[in-house]
């Protein structure tokens, strides 16, 4: 199957949830310096549950469609569960083969989410090697 499957292109063309929240509990930004992709994620958290999600960003079809897909998944997910989402989950969500060279594009949304939640919990931020290691595991 093709990386640029209809579903990916649909989310790229009409991204879901691509609007920043008025009063987010947390705002977090991550970039792929190498290619200039950037994502700003807003989460509204109530009772340890993600109530709503907003985001903004620029970049390639894969990072932007991936964020759109993830944004659909997150509302009503507990913080604990969201913080445990894995690269494998993202690969399934995208549903297309992701090659090594596009891995960081595909995982940028997860990277932003995981670090947003770590910021909430005042934990040290995840690094790329750590996330990529999870993907290999």
């Amino acid at each position: 199957m093709d990386l640029y499957a209809e579903n990916i292109l649909d989310h790229y063309r009409s991204p879901r949830g691509k609007k920043l929240l008025k009063k987010p509990t947390i705002e977090h930004k991550e970039v792929n310096a190498g290619c200039g992709d950037s994502l700003t994620l807003h989460l509204l958290i109530k009772d340890d549950t993600i109530e709503s999600v907003g985001w903004d960003g620029t970049g390639c079809a894969i990072s932007q469609a991936g964020m759109s897909l993830l944004a659909e998944e997150l509302p009503n997910t507990s913080v604990e569960k969201a913080a445990a989402l894995s690269p494998a989950f993202i690969r399934k969500l995208l549903g297309v083969p992701v090659s090594e060279r596009r891995l960081k594009c595909a995982l940028l949304p997860l990277f932003a989410l995981r670090n947003a939640l770590r910021t909430v919990k005042k934990q040290p931020l995840l690094t790329w090697p750590e996330l990529l290691e999870e993907d290999n595991a």
């Binding site: 640029y4 790229y12 063309r13 190498g34 290619c35 200039g36 390639c60 079809a61 060279r101 594009c105």
Partner: protein, 407 residues
């Protein structure tokens, strides 16, 4: 006789193995002719020994192959002496050697190094490191929208009196422009500053004569010159080299080692610690000898025609913007571009599925991309084996990619 790119192409095993690929990434690394692969293979099969060490005949032949490469490079770039040629592993290592050996020995707080905005990270970062370590200052020569250096920036910097070295690319790996290095060298020398030329790109597309240029340092890599990876060259003037301390410590770079100290060897071995890239040196000799069968005039004319075809093809695409030169004759061997609203990575990926190999990203020149207010671009680059037909085929492929990604 017209330049016969298809015939030349048949001498490259890579193209036989990948006949569906359109290789438009020679600026990243060039493919290698059969004769280069053979030379390295032959070296390992018949001549393999370490250099400058063994007291037996085959070691002498290995040493002769390695030192012969130095002589080949010396003639290729018209250096005065073969001891002005240092072998490194790459342009990057050569440029680091300048900063870390010459720079450490000669620079102090407040001294100024001038860089152009066109530079590759391998030119920029070693001097940024020196800035942190030694407190030197870096000043920049900006360019105009077509990539021409603003010579007034250089003159202003030189007027400040503290400029010790100007580092500039002979040919941009993004815009393809060739800065006026002869003029830059003249001005810098008038002010007592040295000049280091990054010839990583220039070397495969234009004759380089270090004696005529009168540059103080010049660096290039074997792998962009149809030679192997793992070998690079630093040319440095003999009298300057003699003032430079060793770069790496180890075997071959010393005259004498005692318990309490050492005496470094004379240049160029002073800068070649450890076992050098010997088979690669044999490969580099083969690459230079191979290239020498083509008059530069023919190579340049062929590549000029390719760039004209590239500009025509690209300018025919709606929403496509070429970074830098408007005139294809100002872009040597490469051109970078962006398409409105489309990310270069998506385009390169889709083009890749069609067999087109183009690089997407900032091509190790982030300050230059910032100068043009884009995070990344797509780059088309050509070599001696590229055909006009390959370039023309990119047009429809780009339009198709554009259609797939259209919002």
């Amino acid at each position: 006789m017209a330049f016969d790119a298809p015939h030349i192409r048949r001498q490259f095993p890579f193209f036989t193995a990948n006949d569906a690929l359109v290789w438009l990434d020679s600026a990243a690394t060039a493919q290698k002719p059969e004769t280069v692969l053979r030379a390295m293979d032959d070296f390992y099969r018949t001549t393999n020994a370490n250099v400058h060490r063994g007291m037996y005949e085959v070691a002498e032949r290995a040493t002769a192959a390695y030192e012969g490469a130095r002589d080949t490079v010396k003639k290729f770039m018209n250096a005065r002496h073969s001891d002005e040629i240092i072998f490194t592993k790459s342009t990057t290592e050569s440029l680091n050697l300048v900063a870390k050996s010459w720079g450490i020995a000669h620079l102090k707080k407040g001294d100024v190094i001038v860089l152009s905005i066109l530079e590759h990270h391998s030119v920029i970062v070693p001097w940024l490191q020196m800035k942190e370590e030694a407190g030197i200052t870096i000043e920049w020569i900006d360019c105009d929208d077509e990539g021409r250096l603003i010579m007034n920036d250089l003159k202003k910097a030189l007027a400040g009196k503290n400029v010790k070295l100007v580092a500039v690319s002979g040919q941009s790996n993004v815009l393809g422009v060739r800065p006026p290095v002869t003029e830059i060298i003249r001005l810098a020398h008038q002010s007592g500053a040295l000049v280091c030329i990054d010839a990583a790109q220039l070397i495969a597309h234009h004759p380089v004569d270090v004696t005529a240029l009168d540059c103080d340092f010049l660096a290039f890599s074997g792998h962009k010159l149809y030679g192997p990876t793992g070998i690079g060259v630093l040319y440095a003037k003999r009298e300057i080299m003699q003032t430079m301390p060793p770069f790496l410590g180890g075997g071959s770079m010393i005259e004498e080692v005692r318990r309490d100290g050492f005496t470094p060897a004379d240049p160029p071995h002073r800068f070649e610690a450890g076992t050098p890239p010997i088979a690669e040196a044999a490969g580099l000799t083969a690459a230079i000898d191979w290239l020498a069968q083509f008059p530069w005039k023919d190579i340049e004319e062929h590549e000029k025609n390719l760039m004209r075809a590239a500009f025509e093809t690209l300018n025919d695409i709606e929403g496509l913007h070429i970074l830098g030169p408007k005139n294809p004759d100002d872009a040597s061997a490469c051109v970078s571009f962006v398409l409105k609203d489309l990310h270069p990575h998506d385009l390169a990926d889709i083009l890749g599925q069609e067999g087109f190999c183009l690089r997407a990203g900032h091509h190790c020149a982030e300050p230059l991309h910032k100068r043009f207010s884009v995070p990344a671009s797509l780059r088309l680059s050509v070599g001696i084996y590229t055909t006009e037909e390959e370039i023309r085929r990119l047009g429809p492929a780009l339009k198709k990619a554009q259609k797939i990604l259209a919002k």
